[in-house]
């Protein structure tokens, strides 16, 4: 184990995989000469050259689609879309093409493509640059969506995504790039489609993913001081979704709350709550609650932006409400 940032882990994992497999190439805006908008690819152009680290024109639809075609012919492209907000201009290629080509053509061709892109608000980037719209991709059969919440998972899931024979949207987070954690040194690969019980507990289940998992774990730590034992489930994969692990936990704790950085209505949490109410109906002491962003285009002003986003204090408050409503006693 080494302590590394999420950013460094992504960088190192990309380099490691590229050294092993000459068919991997990186495609994206400003990933080479500029060394990456968020510096994930710093130094890779120098190491691997312009054939394998391809700076692109500003044309997300064009280069994401090009990566699809390259994957159809057997390369293993890893695309960087600078932030998930810009994926909206590439959406037709991702949803109507990457996700469909295998099935629509009767299984004759694979699209072994990874699309790396960060989401995340809270950076004062304004309405069009602060979205968490991974639910769009998670909704689509034919795509996989993984969302590491810490450096070790970043390694394990990136390796899994690169090794996958289907298109994988690899969701990063602007707020996690600087986060540090222990990272296994060996060839660490996680299985896509499995959630992680990030913390064991018995009184309530907190379901989260990506950066919100950091908040969930922080709150769980605090609750422990009050003799409240919270279980934290880090989804790791939004599609396929590990419903089994979620529901087993909810059956055990009989209470559940979801925290996510996305808007509430039709967000990831909706599916989680719908799943739990069906799978743990007889076990629940209270409805599943959701802690999510306020339903506004994210404002630039810092106080407004903060008011619109979920945080630890809010999660903690909601958990106390659930516990109180269910006559929890410590």
């Amino acid at each position: 184990m080494t302590i590394k940032t999420y950013r460094q882990t992504l960088h190192d994992t990309l380099a490691e995989e590229m050294r092993k497999d000459p068919d991997i190439l990186l495609i994206g805006e400003e990933i080479g000469h500029f060394e990456g908008s968020y510096k994930i690819t710093a130094g890779l152009l120098a190491e691997f050259g312009p054939k394998r680290v391809k700076d692109t024109p500003i044309a997300e639809e064009g280069f994401t689609g090009a990566a699809i075609g390259a994957a159809m012919l057997g390369l293993k492209p890893i695309v960087e879309i600078m932030t998930i907000n810009f994926s909206l201009v590439a959406m037709d290629q991702i949803i109507n093409h990457a996700a469909k080509i295998h099935a629509m053509f009767g299984g004759q061709v694979n699209v072994p493509l990874v699309i790396r892109t960060p989401g995340g608000g809270g950076q004062q980037l304004g309405a069009s640059h602060s979205q968490n719209i991974e639910v769009f991709y998670a909704h689509i059969p034919g795509l996989k969506v993984v969302c590491p919440s810490n450096p070790a998972d970043a390694k394990g899931l990136l390796k899994a995504a690169i090794g996958d024979t289907d298109p994988v949207l690899f969701l990063e987070n602007l707020g996690l790039y600087g986060a540090k954690g222990e990272v296994p040194e060996e060839d660490y690969v996680l299985e896509i489609g499995k959630a992680n019980v990030a913390r064991q507990g018995k009184d309530i289940t907190i379901i989260s993913y990506s950066k919100a998992t950091t908040v969930a774990l922080e709150v769980a730590d605090e609750l422990a001081h009050e003799q409240i034992s919270a279980e934290v489930i880090d989804l790791r994969s939004l599609r396929p979704l590990d419903r089994q692990t979620i529901v087993e936990s909810a059956r055990k704790t009989s209470r559940a709350v979801v925290i996510e950085d996305d808007w509430l209505t039709y967000g990831i949490g909706a599916e989680i709550a719908a799943t739990i109410q069906e799978g743990a109906f007889d076990y629940l002491d209270a409805p599943v609650r959701r802690v999510a962003a306020a339903e506004v285009p994210v404002p630039y002003s810092k106080p407004l932006e903060l008011a619109s986003l979920p945080d630890a204090a809010t999660l903690s408050k909601v958990i106390h409400q659930i516990l109180d409503a269910t006559a929890f006693n410590r």
């Binding site: 024109p57 689609g65 090009a66 109507n96 099935a103 299984g107 004759q108 994969s237 089994q244």
Partner: protein, 372 residues
Amino acid sequence: MVSRNTMTKTGRATNKASDSSNVDSGHQDNKDLLLSFYEEMVFIRHFELKASEMYQKAKIGGYCHLNLGEEATVVGLMRATQKQDYLFTTYREHGYAISKGSDPGRVMAELFGKADGVSHGWGGSMHLFDKETHLMGGYGIVGGQIPPATGAALAISYKNTPSTDSPIVVCIMGDGTTNIGAFHESLNIAAVWKLPIVYVIVNNFLGMGTSVDMASGEPELYKRGASYKIESIRINGEDPLEVYNTSLRMFRIAREEHRPLLIEAMSHRLKGHSVVDPAKYRSTEEMKEAEQHDPIPMLEKKLIGLSYLKESDITSIVAKAKERVSSAVAFAEQSPNPDIRQLFANVYSKKLPNDFYRLPGEPLFDEHSFSK
């Protein structure tokens, strides 16, 4: 358009045929070639007419777009490709699939949605795919094929150096398609990355009912290549030989120099946009004009003039075409529907933990799946 002298007797261009081969329509040696063009054009014509008929009989569903009127372009282009070349095309692609080498029975079976269809019944008329012949798909989203086609050329240039054997990508699109963003982004990328791809605009003057003049600020569409410094040419798409010769030349440049090129083939659509479109928006005059540009009678006239063809040959060529079409239909008829138990087989290329293999209405959970 081009005027080199080397000849070839082979119909489909072979690896070797691409070295500056060119065929002159007045020359005796090209008889076989021209006749084979003619036969294939007639076959595609009758295949399409049958598809239309089968659609009316509800054997074919969804949308169904035909190559009627574009046969010369189809055949001229496809004959100039080599086996190893990749083809990305539109929803209007039956003829291309056949001319690139797909079995007509399997194409018809796909239109019927059958298990033996080239896309195993998953694609239908708009989404033919044939791994064998390097048909990398018909695409139903306007412009949707252009970025993947461009990326396929990237994969080629990643693995191959320019040579007389290098595969290339041929990317077909309609005139209306040149107005969508994917066209612009892709051509620019191909230019910047120097990719071995030939973009082909089949200009049949119409989107669905909207004319090129109404849709494009610059209606001479090949001129748009200049925005990317892409060498471009406009040709007469009604003459299979002109299409063939230009294609050979442009494909060879792409192959031997690894750079993108653009061909605009002027063509005509004889019927509606799709089988269900009565094309009421076209005047009788316009339709007459289109019929006068029907490439099959034109070629017939020429071949008769050159004494390559007699009226009686025509009758037998048509009869043979119809017979082949009938067998294609028979093949499609007898092919089974895809197995419903295979519904989830193609979502991903491998079976996944926790993927959601449920039919509509099935509960999320089986009670026995929980650890007690």
